[in-house]
Symmetry: C2
Subunit: 116 residues, 2 copies
DNA sequence: AAACAATACCTTGCATTACAAGATATACAG
DNA sequence: CTGTATATCTTGTAATGCAAGGTATTGTTT
């Protein structure tokens, strides 16, 4: 078990959430995620993910000049991307509720939790 | 994106949590997880996971007669398993906090959240 | 100009793991 | 003896985070 395994299928939702807030470029996203408390994520993780999401038409990109270095590729959400973000939020919430229920040993049908 | 991707690295922690509570056998775990709200997980998921955890000495197993059907393999946690469960709880908490921070667009260094 | 560092993007190959599909075995009911 | 429910395991596939390595651009230093 490691933290990276727990990121699977969650990281893309996080990227969508950040991109929805404002236009971001890939290199910046790694820094952003660190600010949110994650261990630094390598570019080998983020770039393939962005390319995949663009292929799936969840995001679009436009190249803009950088102050220093090659052009940046800024991403923004499409309508489809917003819908996907919505679905992710649902799934994430669902997951949180269920896992926390397991950890507390409360079944989904517990209607009257016992009090001490 | 799918729910199954989000389960990676989380399911084993859930199994450890259930097993810690009481001795359980594999076939039962699938039913248990459904009770906790998860979509039914196939045995093709659970058995390999249990075997791996036993190999890693996180759980031990004893065979006991069943009322109907072949012998059941009951699992219990080892000391190492309890430690691993502890580590999982930390990682899970860490993940929850960070993801929810991203979704709210609050950085880890936001000390004074704005009020409206 | 040449060399270097920082910025920025991308590709290849590997390890992990949930899962479908299928195989095997036991016990009991009809 | 046949069928059904119980119970476990194996094989192969798909998804994806990541390390490692590669390329290109700009500004700074020598």
């Amino acid at each position: 078990m490691s933290t990276t395994q727990m990121m699977k299928g969650i990281l893309d939702g996080c990227l969508l959430a950040i991109i929805k807030d404002r236009e971001v470029y890939g290199y910046e996203l790694a820094e952003q995620l660190e600010m949110y408390g994650f261990d630094s994520l390598s570019e080998g993780t983020i770039y393939p993910l962005l390319l995949r999401m663009q292929k799936e038409e969840l995001v679009t990109s436009t190249r803009k000049k950088s102050t220093a270095g090659p052009k940046r590729k800024y991403y923004s959400l499409t309508k489809k991307g917003e819908q996907e973000l919505g679905k992710f939020l649902e799934r994430w919430n669902y997951l949180q509720v269920n896992v926390n229920r397991v950890l507390k040993h409360e079944t989904a049908t517990d209607q009257f939790p016992e009090r001490e």
